[in-house]
Symmetry: D2
Subunit: 201 residues, 4 copies
Amino acid sequence: MKILLTAFDPFGGASVNPAWEAVSRVREDLPGIALRKLLVPTVFAESGALVNRTANEWGAEAVICVGQAGGRYEVTPERVAINIDDASVPDNAGDQPLDRPITPGGAPAYFATLPNKAIVAALRKAGIPSSLSDSAGTYVCNHLLYQVLEENALRHPERLGGFLHLPFLPAQVVNRSRTPSMALGDMVRALEIALAVTSAV
Amino acid sequence: MKILLTAFDPFGGASVNPAWEAVSRVREDLPGIALRKLLVPTVFAESGALVNRTANEWGAEAVICVGQAGGRYEVTPERVAINIDDASVPDNAGDQPLDRPITPGGAPAYFATLPNKAIVAALRKAGIPSSLSDSAGTYVCNHLLYQVLEENALRHPERLGGFLHLPFLPAQVVNRSRTPSMALGDMVRALEIALAVTSAV
Amino acid sequence: MKILLTAFDPFGGASVNPAWEAVSRVREDLPGIALRKLLVPTVFAESGALVNRTANEWGAEAVICVGQAGGRYEVTPERVAINIDDASVPDNAGDQPLDRPITPGGAPAYFATLPNKAIVAALRKAGIPSSLSDSAGTYVCNHLLYQVLEENALRHPERLGGFLHLPFLPAQVVNRSRTPSMALGDMVRALEIALAVTSAV
Amino acid sequence: MKILLTAFDPFGGASVNPAWEAVSRVREDLPGIALRKLLVPTVFAESGALVNRTANEWGAEAVICVGQAGGRYEVTPERVAINIDDASVPDNAGDQPLDRPITPGGAPAYFATLPNKAIVAALRKAGIPSSLSDSAGTYVCNHLLYQVLEENALRHPERLGGFLHLPFLPAQVVNRSRTPSMALGDMVRALEIALAVTSAV
């Protein structure tokens, strides 16, 4: 299976994004998978177009986007993307949309088509905390997932699409009290498991 | 420096204790440190005597006890042990003391003599979440720390003593919602850093 | 404005539901509001039909549903309902749907039409913790909100609809560690403020 | 029973302290209790002397100190005070002691003599979240409790002493995410119950 694995760059003043730290370390030789990695700017106006163009040109069979959800305890596949941008901080281009539809007149939501529950089960079995998330928020993560799923639904119905949110890395929380984190090695392992589960669909 | 590093066995129905998982993996060849490891039963009546006897026979210059504090987010050196046992679950021998002094007529508390703040600073610098804890609870962890510090204060005033609490391991929380954890590798690294900081006192 | 205010009965083995405790205490004489209260069974197959039938027969201009979201810290208006039932516990009729569409072929989601952000702002100004929620879950709460918003969208486009989630009551958490709660009086006050803000649209 | 009930003033930049908000509203006519209330400055160098002088001059039979523990979920009686000041923010006089003994050469700790477990049980029975705390921190709260218990132990062994920590008020957390709070009415009720339980000793 040809899988496009994307990750956002750092945003909101952070110097690192665990998404790219993990994605960049994922093994390239996973059996049965042709893997392509893509670093995506945390920019509303660019992220979806870049990912969909790359997926289309390459002929990806699945697109798995990865992002940071600071404050979460687990690796959380996202169930759904909703048709709204509502940002509490500006993106990396300075855009801060408030209650703005991603696609005016578009579907109100798209459900991810990755095998989310099988991914959660496989991660837990591997000792990695994971649960299904019912909200990807209303920032660039949700925006990208919406645009990927919209592209798939409208033009590539056979292509799988989904999103995995990662917690903070330990080094990101040393000055934050009571904030959960996950080791980079476990994140990398989680992504490799998610890839394997997806490719076995 | 001759350092005795102790860890509790599993308790409360758990099949694993991150303390011993981490301690058993600590490098034995840390520069300037003669290291001895000791697995300690989670039993009020046995833990302190075993640790102190081992420390005395070997001539330990520092005793660092390690235990699990499920629910914590960080590696937490303990500031103090108080003269009370008050258990919410039985220990591994079935003993569940309630509001019972550890040493009747003993000092109400002993302060740990490890370089706790230097350990916290070194751990954070290494990207490992850590903060000082003001309470080791009133279970076997506090009990052991009290007895170690009492032994040191009364008979070995030059011997350092302290306690490091570790969070759950990731595999321990896969079926618990919103519970923080820490990777085993980071725990091992944290202990090795704490040993190095202690030996540099 | 004619506002139908609904609340679920207790579920999941609980003996009380803060939703009805609060709704039943809301003042009936709020200026400019004709208020009707409705207790709704926590049953997938019944809740939506009952609420919509009541709203239609009475000619409600707004439907505000209230439910419990145990573990939340704040009064949380819901932004959206998604077209999926996925229950972790059975409802009060023993039904536990898994990944089942609420309306097969229906819209993937509906956005609430209450003035959610104005409600949050008014509650905070009144000293009541509140924030917007991006997920009503996938249990009966989301189910009811979906069916209310679907009914409004398809047949009563002028009728407002939305959902407010309430935390646990203090008495519900006395045996749960580290679980937030909110006093009943503050919940009642929150609902009265939400009603006033809604009626001023 | 003659009970002195004290509360700190706001500190750390806050405009309100739930301790005094609650203490000032406690009923004065509780049966069997002569109640005296005292507002105490959040100042290391003044708090203990003021409270002890007041207790001695009046002939208090019990001293119950009340303070804020922002971030806690429950009313938490304190088990113990330890002989150390270690402040993360300056007190209201600008003093920020670091690892400084409260009483050089003094007892390392004093245990509170209030009926803490009976208070917790009575609060829970009344539907108010409560649990015993094993640490009053190392700020002015612990400092005051230490000095009160030291005075009692050394010169008034029959006088009871203890400390109750209160969560934030709801209005204090409207701009903090995921922070628990408690309604003022429940705090007042909690203090009245604690007074009644104490007077029944």
